[in-house]
């Protein structure tokens, strides 16, 4: 900016936010990264010396001796990735047809249904998960109903399984998949679909050759938006998975609140952050490439 008055106004407008996010957002991130390279001391403290084995421990080497390979944490990390990916697939299967259905309705119904789909998002996360605890626990709604109907005699174990965790995560993260997918389905040029079927393409062929490729950006956005919070989730596995379905988020929580190994917990957090950055950079590059092609 050339004019001096403009520069001053810009500084006034941006000064407070720069100061705040600089100290209270970038600062904490930096401190956490520093912590992840410190040596854990007894009773929850830290030694101020460089220590790389927090990361070694995640991969399976807890100390410098290479025989002690035990990838227990890597297994939890992989399980989290697997559950997060499964959740993305589940939500895609649930939300994509729903988005197709909504986009074919009249404008009035479309607005109403998009509103209804996002409304639960405004309800507290604890409340939404509490509802699923009520449904899935041994004396819960599902088991009481099934026993009441005489379909089963013993309650089935569904809470504290991966199934329960997946149901809970799908329920909590549904709008993050529905909204981007719906946005891309709605923008779809209907004449292309009609052209495909006029030219003799079966509905299935039209879907895989026309609809799906054109809505890929929405699917990608939804996948990233669902995958990131699924990976680091600890409330859902805590309430619906119990001690049996430990995810990376539970591991981090334990390091801070019971094990008191802050450097290791920080290293785990940094791992999640790295995965997130890689995903987002990859996503932005794909979107950029698509924009260049069009």
């Amino acid at each position: 900016m050339a004019r001096r008055g403009d520069r001053r106004r810009l500084a006034l407008l941006l000064g407070p936010v720069t100061l705040f996010l600089g100290t209270c957002f970038i600062g904490p991130m930096a401190v956490m990264i520093v912590f992840s390279f410190l040596e854990p001391a007894l009773y929850g403290g830290v030694e101020w010396s460089f220590y790389h084995l927090n990361y070694g421990r995640i991969l399976g080497w807890a100390d410098s001796e290479w025989e002690s390979f035990d990838p227990v944490y890597a297994a939890i990390f992989l399980r989290s990735v697997r559950l997060a990916l499964t959740n993305v697939v589940i939500l895609l299967v649930i939300c994509y047809p729903a988005a197709l259905w909504v986009s074919g309705l009249s404008a009035r119904w479309r607005t109403l249904l998009v509103f209804l789909t996002t409304l639960p998002f405004f309800v507290s996360l604890v409340v939404r998960l509490f509802i699923w605890v009520l449904i899935l626990r041994p004396t819960g709604f599902l088991n009481s109903s099934l026993i009441g109907l005489g379909l089963i005699s013993e309650p089935i174990d569904i809470i504290f399984t991966e199934t329960a965790v997946l149901i809970g995560m799908a329920y909590v993260l549904l709008p993050f998949m529905f909204l981007p997918v719906y946005a891309s389905v709605e923008k779809l040029d209907r004449s292309l679909i009609e052209a495909s079927s006029d030219l003799g393409g079966s509905p299935l062929k039209t879907f895989f050759r026309v609809t799906l490729p054109l809505t890929l950006p929405g699917i990608a956005a939804g996948a990233v938006l669902v995958f990131i919070p699924s990976l680091g989730n600890f409330i859902v596995p805590d309430l619906l998975g119990g001690a049996k379905v430990l995810m990376i988020g539970n591991l981090i929580e334990q390091q801070f609140l019971s094990a008191r190994n802050w450097p290791f917990g920080s290293a785990l957090s940094v791992m999640i952050m790295v995965v997130m950055f890689v995903l987002i950079i990859f996503y932005l590059r794909q979107i950029g490439r698509q924009g260049a092609n069009q």
Binding site: M1, R9, L13, L14, V17, F20, L21, C24, F25, I26, P28, M29, V31, M32, I94, C95, P97, A98, W101, G104, L113, F115, L116, T117, L119, P120, F122, V123, S124, L125, V126, V127, R128, F130, I131, V133, L134, I135, R137, T139, S144, S145, G148, Y171, S202, I228, P229, L231, G232, N233, F234, I235, L239, G249, I252, W262, S266, S269, I272, M276
Partner: protein, 273 residues
């Protein structure tokens, strides 16, 4: 023929989709009036007693499941949540709006950096931000309490307000501002009379969003709240971890109704403008 068949399958799926979202909610509301104190999922009659219980009034039912001090602690948690939410809403609305104005109005070298900086807290997983803030506060010797929660919430709520206000600014009519300046109004008068009324729906929308998210935030608050600074979601989470009690049904129903009301009001407000 085939296309109507596809449409029918999609409609059935859509109905199931809505059922998946709303059946659990309807269930919790209905069963919050269930008078069965032993198994809360077996219907044994209609009662308001769980609602009385959470507000600390003696009822026939709560003799069996009496919490001595939980009503006081619940009300303290509600109070904490309201203090945190109003403070963070105020701070993040002001800072978020200022940032949106700056990035909309001026072109400067660090613009892309600021855009990235503002999107980052929104995409950062909750647990990472919560841990980072905890480590930061503790290593700089800051006590965990309402202040730390307020700071923590502001780090990501500024971004939400920024995004909502920016969207509003993008659809704004610039010519009115130019006309105002041409007619000799100074910058401040132009802002108050022209710019602010135009972006106000966006600012209010952003503030409402910030308020709801702040009231609901569990993960970040969980890590940076002190012993006496429990907020409502953290309190309920603690209650849930200790075991499911029928009163939580009633609390959940009240919270559901409040969230639905605020969200509906927000939508109504946005559509009117």
């Amino acid at each position: 023929m085939r296309r109507t068949w596809v449409k029918r399958v999609l409609a059935v799926h859509g109905a199931l989709f809505l059922l998946f979202i709303y059946a659990p909610i309807v269930m919790v509301v209905v069963y919050s009036f269930n008078s069965n104190p032993i198994n809360m999922m077996i219907w044994s009659g209609f009662t308001f007693d769980w609602y009385w219980t959470i507000f600390g009034y003696p009822t026939q039912l709560n003799e069996q499941t009496l919490y001595v001090d939980s009503t006081d602690r619940l009300l303290a948690a509600v109070q904490n949540s309201l203090i945190v939410a109003t403070s963070t809403t105020t701070i993040s609305t002001v800072l978020g709006t200022m940032t949106a104005l700056a990035l909309y109005r001026y072109r400067f070298r660090a613009q892309r950096f600021y855009q990235g900086l503002l999107y980052m807290p929104m995409v950062m997983p909750d647990i990472v931000l919560g841990i980072a803030l905890l480590v930061f506060f503790v290593s700089f010797g800051m006590a965990l309490g309402l202040i730390s929660i307020i700071i923590g919430h502001c780090t990501f709520l500024i971004s939400y307000v920024f995004v909502v206000v920016s969207a509003r600014l993008a659809g704004m009519d610039d010519t009115l501002e130019q006309a105002s300046a041409d007619l000799g109004a100074n910058e401040w008068v132009t802002f108050r009379r022209i710019t602010l009324p135009q972006i106000l729906p966006g600012v209010i929308g952003g503030a409402l969003l910030a308020f709801i998210i702040s009231m609901d935030d569990l993960v970040i608050t969980y890590f940076i709240s002190g012993v006496d600074s429990t907020t409502l979601p953290v309190f309920i989470y603690g209650m849930l971890r200790r075991g499911v009690k029928p009163e939580i049904n009633a609390i959940a129903t009240i919270m559901l109704m409040l969230s639905f009301t605020i969200a509906t009001l927000g939508l109504y407000f946005r559509r009117r403008h």
